[in-house]
Amino acid sequence: MEEDIEKIREETKRWNRDCLGKHTFRKSETDWGLEIKPLYTVDDIRDINYLEEIGFPGEYPFTRAPHPSMYLGKLWTMRQYSGYGSAEETNKRYKYLLEQGQTGLSVAFDLPTQIGYDSDHPLSQGEVGKVGVAVDSLADMETIFNGLPLDKLSTSMTINAPAAILLAMYLAVAEKQRIATEKLNGTIQNDILKEYTVRGTYIFPVGPSLRLITDIFEYCSKHVPKWNTINVAGYHMREAGATAVQEIAFTFADAIEYVNAGIKAGLRVDDFAPRISWIFNTHNNFFEEVAKYRAARRLWAKIMKERFGASDPRSWMFRFHTQTAGSALTAQQPLNNVVRVAFQTLAAILGGAQSLASCSFDEALALPTEDSVRLSLRTQQIIAHEIGVTDTVDPMGGSFYIESLTRKMEEKIIDYINRIDELGGAAAAIEKGYIQQEIQESAYRYQKEVESGKKVVVGVNSYQVEEPLPKGLLKVDPKVGAIQIKKLKELKVARDNQKVESTLLALRKTAEGNTNLMPPILEAVKAYATLGEICGLLREVFGEYEGTSAI
């Protein structure tokens, strides 16, 4: 074999010189600066130890897949990130999507909900129900899931700073549906560090935010064992401009911080690590995206085993949700986005996603309509059933290019993680502005490449056409804010306000102490204390995070 490799290497040199060398060709490189060769051969993967680095699906280091049979055993969960307007409208959209064959829900909350303000707060003006559904109290949550049996659903909630409260509301809905919390399946995003860096829906300072997270880890490990208690999020970093390498590196750095926090809070790593899940962004560069997920699976397994000494194989497993790239969609010639979404969806599947949401083609213009979101779901279904890519596990494994790229990306990700370790970990690196700066640099470089034409974006800087105004876009009912405020007023009259007061008092005492916050939050939620009341109280006790705005 060694001799063969030597010969192949010599022959490759000859080919480069005598054959390729006679042609003019374009030089390409990745966004993070790796020169991509015109041709990859077995020589590029000769020093990869198959058994150690690639191995078998469902076994350490999981490069090929987290589960042995992958899509032959179970297709990925098809979710579409959705939610808008009122709880009633959102409930209707969910029922529609489930009828169309969607297999899980992914709840989008509006910005006031994400930042812990009720719909009647002055800062909520103009924002209620716009980018997601408005949730002021348990009453809204009951409406959202009305007629949807929670034991038969897997629900992912994109909620971070007030995640504990929305999770408590979900648990309370389950109780009303007489479903044991042990049976609940789903995920809360609950990743606060990336809010400080790129997404901005933070509320509390770092310390109390991490406490809320570890309290959820602990509570769920006892009462909601199948719940994914954190969904560490690279998606938003990529949307903010991070490269594929930065996306994984910064997300892993954040996750390392959460694992450290859990251990520091006295939890055993194997008690919560299996419930860590992920959300990433599947972008346009097809092979890079496939390699990215393979590298991430391998590296996370190593981090958990070697760095944290986790011994449960489930703690080593990297299972991820991904959504296709919103920022890669264009407002120009929006139908082209159908094609982009299909390729990104395919890359996510070849990368081994457990759960997937595909953007809709009109999302650079507005929230998706019923028709556009159905088309995206159909895209997933076509890939699942018609084109044969789910017929074997990790079909891209062994490609000279993919394996080489997987290795190179892993090395680059490790470099970043080492750098963040030197800075004192993710929280310290964020405090110093390092992660934000790195992402901003990448975003600016990308924009310059698009504007200079170095990077072709079809319909935007090339192949442009004059276009008529798009028709039929979704518009959120402008009355939703007023209706929500009216409901809130009625709620405050109808509920037992003495009970609200006493549960809030109990919550305050817990917040001032150091026992688990989940039980008193659950009691307050069940008494129909509002999200704004609960977050307002916690703001008083914990203080608020002050953002930075360096450019």
Binding site: L111, L123, K130, G200, L365, Y444, V457, S549
Partner: protein, 134 residues
């Protein structure tokens, strides 16, 4: 305007939306083109934005918004600008704003709305041309 003075621009993110990639990229591009740029950071109220525009004595105000709350926040900002006597500042909007909403926003005195895919050079040229006329 005085030729010796560099163009001063305030880039602002009104409302609760934290997606500021576009705002930051634009801020960098304007700065690289020689303008003086102040960025407010995210989650600014209309009052805070107008105060910053007043204090920084800017020539242009760029409002970036993706959350769909422009229908409330833009009119409010224009109203306070007028109250404070800053009605002549060049105000531009950017982000995800449906084209149907644009005529209404222009009626309020917002000079132009730039959507996704716009090049920073287009914006730079627009600011230069419109301020030199003023």
């Amino acid at each position: 305007m005085n030729q010796d003075r560099r163009i001063r621009v305030l880039v602002a993110k009104p409302g609760l939306d934290g997606h500021d990639r576009g705002a930051k990229v634009i801020a960098r591009a304007l700065r690289d083109s020689g303008m003086e740029v102040i960025y407010t950071g995210i989650r600014q109220t209309p009052e805070q934005i107008v105060d910053a525009a007043l204090q920084e004595d800017v020539d242009a105000l760029l409002l970036s918004i993706l959350s769909g709350a422009h229908g409330f926040l833009f009119p409010r900002i224009m109203e306070i600008l007028k109250e404070k006597g800053l009605g002549d500042i060049l105000v531009l909007g950017g982000g995800i704003i449906p084209e149907d909403d644009v005529p209404e926003l222009k009626k309020l005195g917002i000079s132009e709305i730039f959507g996704p895919g716009m090049s920073s050079q287009t914006l730079i040229n627009y600011i230069r041309e419109n301020l030199s006329q003023g």
